[in-house]
Amino acid sequence: MCEPKATRTVDVTNRSGIHARAATLIAELVRGSRCKVSLIKDRERVDGTDVLQILSLGTRCGEQISFEATGGDAQRVLDALVQLFADNFGEDEEKIQEAENPQ
């Protein structure tokens, strides 16, 4: 039996790129799914459940990253991942700045 497989590519627009918190959110989302998700950048492929591997891609603002999902809820997971990027990982840049620079 052939499992459903889907791919999606997104532009990284967060000014800090795929930083630690963003990588954690991606891994949490993938861990909560019923499919296997790989992140692909410049022909390098890593496991979407592993924050360390996601960070090792060093994805910067302005670059592109692809997701390949295989399994039951592949489409739903890819939709959620794309939404995560569209929502800028839930970040309000001003609030993050404030949190990181308490005066």
Binding site: S16, L52, Q53, R60, I96, A99, E100, N101, P102
Partner: protein, 157 residues
């Protein structure tokens, strides 16, 4: 970017005594102060900023590794240190494991590029299980420094 570009050798700690998140962060920031990499009057502000960042989500990234970090206006370049805890620290990591290996980073505001490159280097090197295991087993700052140098010279991965 190499470890030598951001890790302060004098601030490396092989035996953290703290057993909780705040204590571990405090010990590492104090090590940076002792090494002359941050100013004494900024110590509390830096610790507070790193703890604030942890509230947004743990920087325990799994495999017994954490990368506590913050941006802070008191530094003009990326500064960092490495620490090992043999007993492990509860860091609320994604995989539920305690953390033995820490890379703490403080970067200037509006310099996300260097921070990301440091994270990339750390995580790329730690993908090598041997390097990761050797670091966690290191018993002295010199041993950690030597492992970082070897990684910088591409002797792992």
């Amino acid at each position: 970017m190499k470890f030598a570009d951001f890790v302060s050798p004098e601030a490396i700690r092989a035996q953290l005594t703290a057993t909780d998140k705040e204590g571990a962060i405090r010990e590492m920031v104090q090590a940076l102060l002792d090494a002359g990499r941050i100013r004494a009057d900024e110590l509390e502000s830096i610790i507070k900023a790193i703890l604030k960042r942890e509230e947004l989500g743990s920087t325990g990234i799994g495999r017994g590794v954490a990368v506590p970090h913050t941006k802070h206006p008191s530094v003009d370049r990326l500064v960092g240190t490495v620490a090992v805890s043999s007993q492990g620290v509860d860091f609320a990591s994604l995989d539920g494991e305690t953390v033995q290996l820490f890379f703490l980073l403080i970067s200037p505001p509006d310099c996300p590029g260097d921070h990301l490159r440091a994270l990339e280097n750390i995580s790329r090197q730690l993908r090598d299980d041997t390097f990761c295991r050797f670091l966690k087993q290191a018993k002295s700052a010199e041993e950690i420094q030597q492992l970082l140098d070897e990684a910088d010279n591409n002797q792992f991965a």
